[in-house]
Amino acid sequence: MANKTKELFLKTADVIIENKNYLTELDAAIGDGDHGVNLARGFKKLKDKLENGSFESRSEVFKLTAMTLISNVGGASGPLYGTAFLNISKVIADSRLDLEDLVEISEEAIAGIQKRGRAEAGEKTMLDTLIPASESLKESRDNNLDLDTALKNCLQAAAAGMENTIEMQATKGRASYLGERSIGHQDPGATSSYLIIETFIKNSLK
């Protein structure tokens, strides 16, 4: 399991690094133009550490990811993603994950982000991708959907959540300084969250 998780994070790192300029441009429009640069710096470091390490458990990989992001990303997204992955590392097991587990994991991640950033849904942040994704998982669980369908729905919810940030006015993060001028732009953090979810889901569906 540890190795599969390692592969998953290596792929995630590649996706973030590929999208460095895209994320940075989104951030330039309503923030300070460094979101892609920040995440790419952290995920590059993570690649090094993953490639040179061997791991016993999923939890260990999540913890390393968390610590690496916290001490290499900086900005707002570093502590937020770091805390999210740290929280996940505290609950994630090495057994096969069922829908119930995924709900718990997503809620832990969101709780971590909210503890640090004190934001709610609708404030035009990464939470606007993550909360709908988590809600979708919960709905699938309540309706007893199978895992594959649940993950497809979750990905759709994440995408919709990300796109919905375009119409939102930011009230947290740097974009909030723009007031109404923040409307009409997709949030960079919501976008990176979508990319991470997408990589996770696509690679576990295979």
Binding site: T24, E25, D32, A76, P79, T171
Partner: protein, 330 residues
Amino acid sequence: MGKKLINDPDNVVKEMIEGIVMASNDRLEKLDGYNIVLRKDAPVEKVALVSGGGSGHEPAHAAYVGQGMLDAAVAGDVFTSPTPDAIFEAVKAVDSGNGVLLIIKNYTGDLMNFEMAAEMAEAEGIEIEQVIVNDDVAVEDSLYTTGRRGVAGTVFVHKIAGAKAASGAELKEVKRSAEKVIKNVRTKGVAINPCQLPAAENSTFSLAEDEMEMGIGIHGEPGTEKVKIKKVDEIVDSLLKDILTDLKIKKDDKVALMVNGMGGTPLMELYIANRRANNFLSNKGIKISKNYVGEFMTSLEMEGLSLTILKLDGDLTNLLEAETEVNLLK
């Protein structure tokens, strides 16, 4: 656009920090393995002051390290808060057992990273306090937003808290002085040309030939509104009006005035703006006890300026005028 006098964009902060330390004529040193600048004689037997934030604001914050101001400055990547581990290292390096004050600018990223560092320091038994600077009147202050940004007014916090700490005051008192500055300082800025991050391909915002951004911050964020460029006298008047209204300054009040260039603004223009700012305040019967003109809190090569007003009383005046080895604040 786009040309820079650098080497590898990934190394700008480290190389810059080394250059700053070399330029200090032996007053400063770099903490090995970190982009942290320390007083060479640290830890000094007094309350220590640690500040920092993203890079690209030079001379902030590293050049404010020195007797009478900061004990350490932690430099993050360009426009990116430093990470908790680095801040924690700085705190450990300067704490003499008298406690450490963190001076933080009000940005989500800075708050979270400094907060995590404070948690780490407390866990090691270091006495730690923090103040959050939010002097930018361009941003509406409301409970439901992230609140105002910390910008050039931060420099006055460094100076006055630094003087208080140098006087031998205790952590709580130093914190109180810092908070008094924060309560009495306001800033607003304008840009006529944007800046570009070393690692990015484009400017952070774009402006037409006849436009300017009012209410810009120090991270190349777009400001509050794009307007047609005006004469600098009109710009100064408009910035000062917003500041004075917010600070509730009235006739016979004493203030310090800082005219701050954003990085690419020629000094000539800052002096012309300073002339108007002086005339504007004098006409209102406000007394300028101390006037600073230059680059204090920049945004890479952005062209623009900010005006900062600090309302003074006798206590703040004395601390502002207290000796420091940092030439910029003499």
